[in-house]
Symmetry: C2
Subunit: 432 residues, 2 copies
């Protein structure tokens, strides 16, 4: 069962949770001076409208007409009632999921990629750079930039470039230039490349290359796919739509659940509901972030200032962190391997408005298979963390005989992650 | 821009074009006796409700409640107005496409797979067998059978099994047993397998294995993904939805376009519209089947009786055929490599109600890239044949200044066909 909205019901404004925060967000700090970063520094890599959104205190920020038009290629996304899963679990709980897997790149990522491409275009930018690991974010930015005639340059970690060609081809199909990193084209890349032209690379090196390119070309800016306030802002289309859809279904969730890597799909779904908890209207709402045990940022990290990247080039940001040099084991939910989390999310977690759970990957894939065999969609390993938690809550409801309402975010599909499914089905997936 | 229907608007009956045919369909013949095949023979491999549908003269056949429930996991599918593509082409034509790529297996195939799984289940069948090449059909049947607790056994051509693991993993994720063919488990497979356990296999051998398994086990039946009347019948949900959606948009198409392999996605979209041409209500409607030049069944084949399979085991059917021993070059639209076409489609083509075009694959991939870069969706190479034709009609409209309305079927996405895109983008795709 699905609850659909008409195209006219795509939200016309994004929701900014900043005005409702229980205390102000602490600013990013310059790594040299330890003083708050000046807007100038941000303007060197991001265009003005994005920097404005990053620090805005306004509750509602209008979605430009041209962004709505691109959104309408796949939005509004369906909200499903997971009736088959409920029956399989024999739970009295009602399970709903927001299906962000229907976008052409297959995840929630284009919600912000399209907005960022637009703001760069109207600011006179000609080219966006970014980094990508397995290619989830890079493909979303490639998808987005083509609608605004922007060039897109993606520095892709070489080991992924060589071993996972499909998202690379997807980016090229959408017209992007994909460069294996480390490359000979930047100072940051060159020193590794010259040592070893087949250097496997890392996300840290790729970030450095992409930022360097933006800093050294006047017509080029950089784009980031998670963590920052403006990214979370753009993702709130998810939760705003879901709220309307839950209303149409006649329910309000008792639990809102999402997987957390940097925090953008989670915040996108949760923040519009979390407002009701922050205002005291829904004091019993439980908002749950789910992460891998292998990268337990919220459940085991410290709340302190740390670098956003692994090499220490970015501003220091206040967040839950495992330390910027933390290297998680190679789990298959690549999108959840970030050492920190979005500052907005971390503040709300620290203040007790959000709780967190962590799972090992076999339990996550078990839930993914259950979901695929009941609801039909093969979920991304990232999204399957949210499914695992939703199933566990539904099973608790069964024990207690409670008809609670659970809503989770199906942030993406797993059609580019089938090798991990293969390992799981063969019993070869390490249980980290 | 999308035109969406609510879940209540999923068609409650399939449309059978048989009562409107300009002359009766000639029956399939027994290859030994050359007499019409007796229903007994069909009942050995298909369950009774399917055999009834295969020969039904009723215009409307009710969609069972349990099939509707599974359809509702992804249906109704969106109808898109391809505004970006229109603007890119600067055409006065209006281009619409029905988006069947949103199903979990990524194509129109589950429309019939779900119906067939249901009818087998209610007929007491425990297991369905089928064959698959690259895995498009096999994955749809694996998807469908899990909703009815049927076992699913897919004989997969070994060369694809080894070289294209992703759809194999998809089938296994949905609980199917995938067997590389030729296998040691059937008489048909064994003789090839014993000669060479690494025999690359062929679709012909895989069909023989799947049918043999159905013929030799009392609880097992066989399932076919195209060509037959009941398959085309189930696919008419596509056109019935599209007709409602075109009405909501305020247009009736001048052109209805679809790619043809066996004919099921084409017929599924076209037949509900074609009824209006057959009744004389829309005499000027043009219905166009598009095929690869490398496998030009309609444009170059003969209209005569021929075997449905390559090895000559099936009944003889009256169709346009290149000869059952025809082996097309290895083009990348694997779903369009069939030597014949659906008898219903061939009759209507022979009688002049349908026209046909053929394209080489570079022109097809060029259209696919244009579509991906304007409408955002990466199409299946099969579907890109329809896109190529739609673009060419739109360009003719531009020359003549005509505001015609074009509707085509986007039968599937291309996320499992990215290697072919890679070859095209590198200029390495042979122009066959």
């Amino acid at each position: 069962m699905k609850i659909l909205l008409s195209e006219e019901e795509i939200p016309k404004s994004w929701f900014n949770i900043t005005p409702y925060l229980p205390k102000p967000l602490e600013p990013p700090l310059d790594p040299q001076t330890k003083e708050p970063v000046s807007p100038d520094k941000l303007l060197a890599i991001f265009p003005e409208p994005i920097v404005e959104q990053e620090v805005s205190e306004k509750e509602w920020i209008e979605v430009p007409e041209d962004v709505l038009r691109v959104y309408s290629l796949w939005r509004p996304t369906p909200l499903h009632r997971a009736k088959n899963l409920e029956e399989y679990l024999q739970t009295p709980a009602k399970i709903f999921y927001k299906n962000e897997s229907v976008s052409p790149p297959g995840s929630h990522k284009p919600n912000t990629a399209v907005a960022q491409a637009y703001y760069n275009k109207v600011s006179g930018v000609k080219r966006l750079t970014t980094e990508t690991g397995a290619g989830q974010w890079g493909s979303s930015l490639a998808f987005a930039t083509q609608f605004f005639n922007l060039e897109c340059e993606v520095y892709m970690v070489r080991v992924s470039y060589n071993q996972k060609p499909f998202r690379r081809i997807l980016m090229e199909t959408w017209g992007a230039k994909v460069i294996p990193s480390p490359s000979p084209y930047t100072r940051a890349g060159r020193k590794f490349y010259e040592e070893n032209p087949e250097h496997p690379g890392s996300l840290g090196i790729a970030i450095s290359e992409a930022i360097e390119k933006a800093l050294t070309s006047s017509d080029t800016k950089y784009s980031l796919g998670s963590v920052l306030n403006h990214v979370l802002l753009h993702q709130t289309v998810i939760g705003l739509e879901a709220k309307k859809q839950m209303e149409k279904a006649g329910y309000y969730p008792d639990y809102v659940v999402g997987a957390v890597g940097g925090g953008s799909n989670f915040a996108g779904l949760a923040f519009p509901f979390l407002k009701d908890k922050l205002t005291g209207e829904k004091p019993h709402l439980e908002v749950i972030a789910v992460e891998p045990e292998a990268c337990p940022t919220l459940t085991k990290g410290e709340y302190r200032y740390d670098y956003g990247d692994t090499v220490g080039l970015t501003p220091l940001i206040k967040m839950h962190t495992l330390g910027h040099e933390f290297v998680p084991p190679p789990i298959h939910a690549g999108g959840l391997r970030y050492h920190g989390d979005a500052p907005l999310l971390c503040l709300l977690y620290h203040e007790g408005y959000i709780s967190a759970s962590a799972y090992k990957q076999r339990a996550v894939f078990e839930a993914a298979i259950t979901f695929a065999r009941t609801e039909g969609i093969v979920p991304a390993p990232e999204s399957a963390h949210a499914i695992r938690k939703a199933i566990d809550i539904a099973l608790e409801c069964k024990e207690r005989g409670e008809e609670k309402v659970i809503l989770f975010n199906l942030s993406g599909h797993g059609y580019f992650d089938l090798s991990a499914y293969d390992m799981y089905l063969k019993g070869e997936l390490p249980d980290t």
